[in-house]
Amino acid sequence: MNEKEILENFISIFDKKEDAKRVTDELFGLYGNLNSIFDSNHVFFMKNIEMREQTAVLINIISAINRRCEIEQAETKYLNSADIAKRYFQARLTGYSKELLIAAVLGRDFEIIKEEIITNDAVNNVSAAFRKFAETAFSCEGAKYMIVTHNHPSGNSRLSDSDVVSTVNLINAMKMINITVADHIVVGGRNSVSMHQEYGKKMFESIKGYSLK
């Protein structure tokens, strides 16, 4: 089946068969292919095409569900690269309107042993937060690495001076208890930054098995 036939078939099966051909022809006239139809919004469909509300929802629900599946599939149990860590925490923190600070304790193969929310507010007492990081690490058998993440509810993933300073201090604090901080991921909206990718050896020790690509 070509894309037009796929969409017509889809509308026929799930919605009103009588409208399927007309709606399909009009949508393809406007958008040109199936992907761009799914990437659009019902607001635009209903402006130009005589279309039932049910049909507009049907088309948009596919892209909405697809997006959720993508986010879910970004989950992984092994955080052995900066890119994997970014995708993982981006999926975790998307949609939160408050600032969250999370520690993921990893084993020798970078497998996640434990994830703990250190605070669900902006950090005011850094020592108290560091203590919680240490407690989390101590509570895990086989803990070797830690990846820390926090989000910027503003949606901007740009690093602040305090992000940098607190990360340096955390690395030193965890070193005392034999935990290597592999990365600090900052999530802003749908984007994220790996501080290890940004600062490399200037901030982090070289870690065998943790890819920066």
């Binding site: 796929i6 889809f10 099966i13 799930f14 919605d15 393809f28 006239g29 406007l30 958008y31 040109g32 292919n33 199936l34 992907n35 761009s36 139809i37 799914f38 990437d39 659009s40 919004n41 019902h42 607001v43 635009f44 402006k47 130009n48 509300e53 049910q54 507009a56 929802v57 049907l58 948009n60 629900i61 596919i62 892209s63 909405a64 569900i65 697809n66 997006r67 959720r68 599946c69 993508e70 986010i71 879910e72 599939q73 995708r87 998307t94 949609g95 949606g155 901007n156 802003g188 909206g189 749908r190 984007n191 994220s192």
Partner: protein, 230 residues
């Protein structure tokens, strides 16, 4: 006496909530519940949605399951199971195209993404993507260019879409189909619309790229942004 369909009002309300709100504000089970409206006539699909997600370990698991596994869930008939499998296959096809060339390391890779996206499309469509160099995009909106020409685009609707999709740094791709890649007045109007109107909501236009066949024209790199009011 005809029995009142107690579900009819609920389904209409859910659809209206979806149309008036934003998909990101819905839980996984609510999205699945709405989809099940189209698969299961006149029944409470909320419980079924919950059970599906619990049984298959998440929403993506539901669409990876085969029909034999799905029919074991309460409320899922063989016909409904076939429909869910159908949706799963449809989304797989959609994802294949969506994910192609999605890692943006520089503007060249963004141009490549647009060229692939618009390949074989004759229609004049505008694709707005949320992109920063070196990061993948998950968010995009397609808008027929004719909507800009005919003033069918409202600032309020566009602002809502950009904000609810968490778009901050956007790149606009405009497909010219078979026509020349040289920008026309409509292209400049589109660029101006996004550049000027939504800056107040922290939306920055990084570039506007015209595409035709295998050619591109970047408005930013050709100085068009220099004349835009800041």
């Amino acid at each position: 006496m005809k029995k009142k369909n107690i579900h009819a009002g609920h389904r209409k309300r859910m659809r209206e909530k979806f149309l008036n709100g934003y998909a990101d504000s819905f839980c996984d089970h609510e999205l699945l519940e709405i989809l099940l409206f189209y698969c299961i006539p006149v029944a409470n699909t909320n419980h079924t949605a919950h059970e599906l997600i619990e049984s298959f370990g998440g929403i993506s698991g539901v669409f990876k399951a085969n029909a034999d596994e799905l029919v074991k869930i309460n409320g899922i008939s063989s016909k409904t199971a076939e429909k869910i499998v159908y949706i799963g296959n449809l989304m797989e096809e959609y994802r294949k195209i969506s994910e192609k060339n999605r890692e943006f390391h520089n503007f060249d890779s963004i141009e490549k993404y647009f060229l692939d996206y618009f390949k074989d499309i004759k229609s004049d469509i505008c694709l707005v993507i949320n992109a920063q160099p070196e990061f993948e995009t998950l968010d995009k909106i397609t808008i027929p260019v004719s909507f800009f020409r005919e003033n069918k685009i409202s600032e309020e609707e566009t602002a809502k879409m950009l904000i609810m999709k968490n778009m901050h740094n956007i790149v606009i791709g405009i497909n010219h189909g078979d026509r020349s890649v040289i920008p026309g007045s409509t292209d400049y109007s589109i660029m101006q619309f996004f550049f000027e109107k939504f800056r107040i909501f922290d939306v920055t236009v990084e570039d506007c790229i015209i595409c035709s066949g295998t050619s591109t024209f970047s408005l930013m790199r050709n100085g068009a942004f220099d004349n835009m009011s800041v």
